[in-house]
């Protein structure tokens, strides 16, 4: 039997469809802008400005991007390596921490949770942190400087903890214990398989963070061969803006191709593409994996 919908519900639905649809279009528009600009010839951009739909499609910008691919590919390599290692290590540590912090028989779970949360309230600031990484840990110009700072965040640990708490019933852990399994065995035999949606979600956030990071390259890396992809792009954009501002005809000889407007857009597509491809695989776990509960528990 189908329940007839009342007037209020119909209005509500109508508003919902309109708002969601308009919101979606606004979210997509800038993407469209970049993709279409990357497919426009540079002359057209300089002559007519950016348009939503180019009058003539061309792949020239992409050809230029891949004409001298060494630097781009190297930056890709750095970012890929950092993303994979950072996400793997971070996930391992955060799932262990999340599991321990939600165990009711671990007496100090609230105290340690607060110790972790407290770091979001108070810190030494950027300069002491800079000194820690460069002077004491001596990470400058190494990939450690890119991996270490983003390994864990209190928010993701709490997210992980809430997820494990809701996805793994206490009785399952108890019965595994009675069967003689120790806490680590329970973690990787019982908890991890049940926590897949949480792993996927937290993993995606972590990977995204590493992939989009430019700041730690800017702070700690001088060696251009170790630039992350985003920082490599950032430098190309700045060079291009700089050249535009002083006038490209000032007699400066460049070793690489002069970055053009459309080429910048093609780079943006090339840089964002791979991480977007990850999303469809994660999507089905996504809403399920985002359960969040309190710091205390």
């Amino acid at each position: 039997m189908k329940i007839k919908e009342d007037g209020a519900t119909k209005w509500f639905r109508l508003i919902a469809y309109v708002v969601v649809l308009v919101g979606s279009v606004l979210c997509l528009l800038p993407f469209l802008l970049i993709v279409s600009a990357s497919l426009t010839s540079n002359e057209e951009i300089v002559r007519d400005g950016y348009n939503l739909i180019p009058s003539q499609f061309t792949l020239d910008a992409y050809k230029v991007v891949f004409m001298f691919p060494e630097d781009l590919l190297r930056a890709y390599g750095v970012t890929t390596l950092v993303t994979i290692v950072g996400t793997a290590v971070g996930l391992l540590l955060m799932t262990m921490a999340g599991y321990v912090l939600q165990r009711k028989d671990f007496k100090y779970r609230n105290f340690f949770s607060f110790v972790i949360y407290f770091t979001t309230l108070f810190g030494g600031g950027l300069v002491p942190y800079y000194m820690l990484i460069t002077n004491y840990l001596k990470f400058s110009n190494t990939l450690y400087a890119l991996i270490w700072p983003s390994l864990m965040t209190p928010f993701l640990i709490i997210l992980m903890r809430s997820f494990i708490n809701s996805a793994v019933p206490d009785e399952v852990v108890e019965s595994a214990k009675i069967d003689g399994a120790n806490d680590f065995v329970i973690y990787y035999r019982v908890v991890l398989p049940l926590a897949v949606p949480g792993l996927a979600t937290v993993g995606l956030f972590l990977a995204l963070h590493y992939w989009n990071d430019w700041f730690h390259s800017a702070l700690f890396i001088n060696d251009t061969a170790k630039y992350q992809l985003q920082f490599y792009l950032y430098n190309i954009i700045n060079t291009s803006n700089f050249l535009n501002s002083i006038g490209a005809g000032a007699g400066i000889v460049l070793s690489g191709p002069v970055p053009s407007e459309s080429m910048k857009m093609a780079m943006a597509v090339v840089v964002t593409g791979p991480i977007l491809l990850l999303y469809p695989f994660i999507q089905r776990y996504f809403v399920k994996g985002l359960t969040i509960g309190a710091v205390k528990g």
């Binding site: 997509l28 949360y117 864990m152 709490i158 999303y279």
Partner: protein
Amino acid sequence: MSKTIVPKKKGVLHELNKNKILFLMLLPTLLYFLINNYVPMIGIYYAFVQFDFHSTNMFQMDFIGLKNFEFLWKSGKLVQLTINTIGYNIAFIVLVNVLAIAVAVLLSELKGKWFKKITQSVLFLPYFVSFVILSVIVFNLFNYDQGVLNTVLEKFGAEPVNLYAKPTAWIFLIIVFFLWKNFGYSMVIYLASITGISEEYYEAAKIDGANIFQRTWHITLPMLKNTFVILLLFALGGIMKGQFDLFYQMVGNNGLLFSTTDILDTYVYRSLRVTFDMGMATAAGVYQSIFGFILIMTVNTIIRKINKDYALF
């Protein structure tokens, strides 16, 4: 090593020994936060010395008391920086949560599995964009010579505008692009909480004759309170920091716009990496940390007095 010490008192050691595997599993995380977050707190001392680039030991540098803070105060920027930082953050927190809750509620009421799935993904899509790409988008939209805005204006015969010389416009732009990029994230978190609400509540309300607005107001929104509080808890922690990437990538070192767009984070970063004024950078960083901490503690104490349940910690 099979000797086991069982202390008579059930103290900390007994507890750690009982759960030693659990403790060992937590240990790397604790060490990480100790080194990464607690140890740098000692570095607050840098704010009280004359910084020396040739020395690596801060305790050998000359102690100058509050001189760095004096310079910072005399630069005359502190008040503006504080107002900008807190103002933007409050706008971000309020608007993101309102928008995210509203859209999550609407989205959860939609019929049509595919429509729901696709729009939900699309709304989250901007979160994938890096801040570097965001700066490309912004430049693409608003630059004077080729930007979309001016291209459109010219088509309608209007005068082109140079937004990169209009500080007030950026208050609006920064907030809009922050929302564009980040609201999807909070929205999905709220959506997850809504999905977790038992259907029974809604069924019971329907039988009692509650319409969809009443159901939303009396069931959905109250059930989102916990999620809201936890998101607020983490957002407030960053009220004196927050969104360095956004400001630095959208505005960069464009001094024309600093009056409305410079926040403490960008100021500290420029002092450290552009002007190399270490004393100023540390002093500003310490001010940021301590002021922020006092602010949160005050807010928390007030809330605790009004209603203990709503206190953050």
